[in-house]
C-alpha cells in the first residue's frame, strides 16, 4: 500500500475521531449538566440563562443523605442492592442449567422452549400487576424485598436464558467429547471446559440483569412501602409540587445511578464481548 494511501487514511481517521468526540460530548452533555446542577443551590439550578459559573455547594447531597431529619436513603439503597444482586444470582442459577439443556445437551423441541421463554418477555407487565398485588396482600408479602427478588428473577430470566444459550452453543462439541473420552465427569467438564469459554458471556448477562433489576420502578412502586422501598422509588419521592427541587433531584439521580454507572464503565469490554452472543473469536 502506498504512503499516500496511508496519509489519506490517517487524515480520514482524524476526521472520524473528531466526529466521534463530538457525538460523545453531545450524548454526555445532559449527564454533565446534571452533575453540575447537583452541586448548585436550588435557586441557581432554576435560572435562564443557565448559571454555569454559580458557586458550588453540597446542599443537594446533604439533603439527599437526609441531613436535618429527612429520610435516610440508605435503607432504599440497601434494598435495591439486595434485590438486584440476589435476583441476578437466582437468574444465573436457574438460567445456566436451562441454557445447558438448550444448547449442549439439547432437549427435543428446544427452539419452542426458547420461544416460550422469550414470549413471556413480551407480555405486558401492567396486566399482571393487580393479581400480583392481591397475591402479595393475601400472603402477607406486601412490602417484602423477597417478593421483588422473585419478580425480578422472572423479569430477567428469559433474556438470560436466551443469551446464555447462545454462549454455550459456542462451546466446541469436539472439546467436550474429547474430555468425556478421557473419562472426565460432568462437573469437571463444566468447570474446566465450558466455563472458561462462556465466562465473558455469563458476566455480560449478569451485568445486564443487575442493571435492569436496579432500574425497575413499576413493581417496586406498587408492591413496596416503608420497609422494602427501592432506590428508584425513593428518588421519585423528591419531586414536589411546591418549591424547587432540581438540585436535590440531580444529586439523588446521580448517586442512585452511580452503582450502575460504575459497574457499566468497569465492565464495558465484557459487555461488548458478551453482547456479541459468543461470536467474538
Amino acid at each position: 500500500m502506498s504512503d499516500i494511501g496511508v496519509t489519506i487514511r490517517r487524515h480520514r481517521g482524524l476526521g472520524y475521531g473528531l466526529v466521534a468526540w463530538l457525538a460523545g460530548i453531545v450524548f454526555f452533555l445532559p449527564i454533565a449538566w446534571m452533575a453540575l446542577t447537583s452541586f448548585h443551590s436550588e435557586a441557581d439550578a432554576a435560572t435562564n440563562p443557565p448559571s454555569f459559573g454559580a458557586s458550588l455547594t453540597l446542599d443537594g447531597y446533604r439533603e439527599f443523605f437526609g441531613s436535618g431529619g429527612g429520610a435516610s436513603p440508605w435503607p432504599a439503597l440497601i434494598n435495591s442492592t439486595v434485590a438486584s444482586l440476589v435476583s441476578t444470582l437466582c437468574v444465573l442459577l436457574l438460567a445456566l442449567p436451562a441454557a445447558y439443556a438448550l444448547s449442549i445437551r439439547r432437549v427435543r423441541k428446544w427452539t419452542d422452549v426458547l420461544f416460550f421463554f422469550l414470549s413471556t418477555k413480551m407480555l405486558p407487565v401492567v396486566a399482571g400487576l393487580l393479581p400480583i398485588y392481591l397475591f402479595a396482600k393475601n400472603t402477607g408479602m406486601l412490602d417484602n424485598i423477597w417478593l421483588l427478588v422473585i419478580l425480578y428473577t422472572s423479569m430477567n430470566l428469559p433474556i438470560a436464558v436466551w443469551m446464555m444459550q447462545s454462549f454455550l452453543a459456542e462451546v466446541p462439541v469436539a472439546v467436550i467429547e474429547a474430555a468425556q473420552i478421557d473419562g472426565a465427569r460432568l462437573p469437571t467438564i463444566l468447570a474446566r471446559v465450558v466455563a472458561p469459554i462462556a465466562l465473558p458471556g455469563i458476566a455480560a448477562t449478569a451485568l445486564i440483569c443487575f442493571i435492569f433489576s436496579w432500574n425497575e420502578l413499576l413493581f417496586a412502586r406498587v408492591l413496596t412501602g416503608v420497609v422494602a422501598e427501592t432506590a428508584p422509588v425513593f428518588l421519585t419521592g423528591f419531586i414536589t409540587s411546591q418549591g424547587l427541587f432540581l438540585a436535590k433531584v440531580c444529586a439523588a439521580s446521580l448517586v442512585i445511578s452511580l452503582p450502575v454507572l460504575a459497574a457499566g464503565f468497569a465492565a464495558q469490554d465484557k459487555l461488548v464481548q458478551g453482547l456479541s452472543l459468543g461470536a467474538v473469536k
Partner: protein
C-alpha cells in the same frame, strides 16, 4: 410473617398463588385479611411531598417520638404517586399504612366504603385537641354521610389572586378590591410585557384533576356553569361552561406563562418567584412560600379575593388531612400522631423552630389570633382566612349540585373523568386542538357517568 419466600418449594408457591388469588375473588370475601402493617411501637405514615410535610418529617423524631415513644416511618411521594398508592392500600385495606394524607375529596368517599377509622370518639376524649377551633368549612368537608368525622386537617387553603404591587404601580394599574375575571383579563393584557420576559398572568395548564381542573372549575362555577345538574345531566357543553373554558384557555394562551400546558403549582410558583409573571391565581398556601425569607418577591405582593363573575365568591376549598385506615392495627397510636400533627402546639413548634411563615395554617381559628403569626403573615393572613370562611363546598355555583365539592365533583369517578378532561383542556392550551373540540370529547366522557348515576 416475612419468611424469605424463595426457600419455599416452587410447587407450593404455585399452588399458593392459584389459591390465594382466585379463592377470595370468587367467594367474594375480602375482609379480615391481615396486612403487613407495622406492629409494636411504630406507625407507618404515607404522605404527599409538600414542604409542610417534609418539615413535619424533620420534627417528628426529636419531638413526637421523644415524647410518646412511638416511632413513625414515613413514605413521601409526589401528589400523583401518593394518590395511586393510597387508593390501592386503602381500597384493599392492606393496612400497610396506618395514616395517610387524604384530601377533602377522598375522605367522604372513603368513609362511605368503610375504609377509614372514625374520629369522633377520639376527639371527645381529647379536650386539649380543641376540635371546635377547626374552621367550620373544614370540619364540614371532612365529615362522612353518617355525620361522623373521618379526617383532621393538617393545613387548608382556598384560592385567591396574587399580583406584583410594584409592577402594577409602575404601570399605573390598580387592583379592584373584588375583581371580576373580565377586569383581571384586562389587567393581564396591560401588565403583559411590563418588564422584559414578564407575562401577564400565571394559570395552571398541567393535566391532572387537581392541577388545571381546580382553577378552571372555579372559573366555570362563577361563570354560571357546572359539571353536572342536580339530576346528573352532564353540562360540559352548556354555554356557560364553554364560555368559561374559552375565557380561561384564551387568557392563558394570550397573556399566560410560557409552557402553560406543562405548568402546575410548582412551575407557577417558580415563575412568580423569578418575576416572570405579574399575577397568579392559585392556592392561598402559595403566599407563605412567596413571602418566605429569601424569596426575591417578598413584600412586593398584593392579594385579592378569587375573581368572580356571577357568584359572590369563587375560591376553592382544599385541605390535606390525616385519615386513619380502618385496617390499622394501631389506631390509638395513629390518633396520637394525628392529634399531635394537627394541634395548636405543633403550629407553635414550627413557628418557633423554623419561622411562622412555614406554619401549616388555614385550618384553625386560633392561628389567626396568634400575634406572632399575624405579624409574620400580615400581608395575606386576613385574606386567606376570609377566603376559607367564604367558601361554600356544598353550593359553589348558581345551581344546585348533585355532589359536594367546589373545584371537583365529589364522586369516585371524578379522578378518572377529571384527569381525562384535563388532558383535553391541556391539549387545547397547548394549541393542539380547539376548546370546542376539547369540550365535545369531555362532554361524551361525562355523559357516561350521567348514565351510571341517573336514577340513583
Amino acid at each position: 410473617m416475612r419468611t424469605p419466600s424463595r426457600r419455599r418449594p416452587r410447587a407450593t408457591l404455585a399452588a399458593a398463588a392459584a389459591g390465594t388469588l382466585l379463592a377470595p375473588l370468587l367467594s367474594g370475601c375480602w375482609a379480615g385479611a391481615g396486612g403487613t402493617g407495622s406492629g409494636g411501637d411504630a406507625i407507618n405514615v404515607l404522605m404527599v411531598n409538600n414542604p409542610q410535610m417534609t418539615e413535619l418529617q424533620k420534627l417528628t423524631a426529636a419531638h413526637f417520638t421523644r415524647e410518646t415513644g412511638i416511632k413513625v416511618n414515613f413514605t413521601v411521594l409526589p401528589e400523583n404517586d401518593v394518590r395511586d398508592k393510597i387508593s390501592q392500600d386503602f381500597a384493599n385495606q392492606a393496612g400497610q399504612y396506618d395514616v395517610a394524607t387524604l384530601s377533602n375529596y377522598e375522605i367522604p368517599i372513603y368513609a362511605r366504603n368503610g375504609w377509614l377509622h372514625e374520629m369522633n370518639s377520639y376527639v371527645a376524649k381529647d379536650p386539649s385537641y380543641d376540635e371546635q377551633d377547626v374552621l367550620q368549612p373544614m370540619r364540614e368537608s371532612l365529615t362522612g354521610d353518617d355525620g361522623k368525622l373521618y379526617g383532621q386537617p393538617f393545613y387548608g387553603e382556598s384560592s385567591f389572586l396574587m399580583y406584583r404591587k410594584d409592577v402594577f404601580a409602575a404601570k399605573g394599574l390598580t387592583m379592584p378590591a373584588h375583581p371580576t375575571w373580565q377586569q383581571v383579563a384586562d389587567l393581564a393584557a396591560k401588565a403583559d410585557g411590563a418588564r422584559s420576559g414578564m407575562r401577564g398572568i400565571c394559570l395552571r395548564g398541567l393535566p391532572g384533576w387537581g392541577e388545571v381542573m381546580a382553577p378552571l372549575t372555579t372559573v366555570v362555577n362563577t361563570f354560571g356553569g357546572t359539571w353536572f345538574d342536580k339530576d346528573w345531566t352532564a353540562r360540559l357543553d352548556s354555554p356557560a361552561f364553554v364560555k368559561a373554558t374559552k375565557f380561561y384557555v384564551g387568557l392563558v394562551r394570550e397573556h399566560g406563562e410560557s409552557g402553560a400546558a406543562q405548568s402546575g403549582f410548582a412551575e407557577c410558583l417558580n415563575n412568580m418567584t423569578q418575576g416572570k409573571v405579574a399575577m397568579w391565581y392559585d392556592a392561598t398556601s402559595a403566599a407563605g412560600l412567596l413571602e418566605a425569607d429569601g424569596s426575591p418577591v417578598k413584600g412586593k405582593l398584593g392579594y385579592a379575593p378569587a375573581p368572580v363573575e356571577r357568584t359572590k365568591s369563587s375560591g376553592w376549598l382544599y385541605t390535606w388531612a390525616w385519615g386513619i385506615q380502618q385496617a390499622s392495627r394501631n389506631p390509638d397510636k395513629a390518633w396520637k400522631f394525628v392529634s399531635w400533627a394537627s394541634s395548636k402546639g405543633y403550629e407553635q413548634l414550627v413557628g418557633e423552630t423554623s419561622g411562622w411563615s412555614d406554619v401549616p395554617a388555614g385550618k384553625r381559628a386560633s392561628t389567626y389570633t396568634n400575634a406572632a403569626y399575624r405579624a409574620s403573615a400580615a400581608a395575606f393572613q386576613e385574606m386567606t382566612k376570609e377566603a376559607i370562611e367564604n367558601s361554600r363546598p356544598n353550593d359553589p355555583g348558581v345551581q344546585p349540585r348533585p355532589a359536594p365539592g367546589i373545584q371537583f365533583v365529589g364522586i369516585p369517578e371524578f379522578t378518572d373523568l377529571g384527569t381525562k378532561v384535563s388532558q383535553e383542556i391541556s391539549s387545547a392550551i397547548a394549541g393542539r386542538q380547539s376548546t370546542d373540540s376539547a369540550l365535545k370529547k369531555s362532554q361524551q366522557l361525562a355523559e357516561r357517568i350521567s348514565k351510571e348515576y341517573e336514577g340513583r
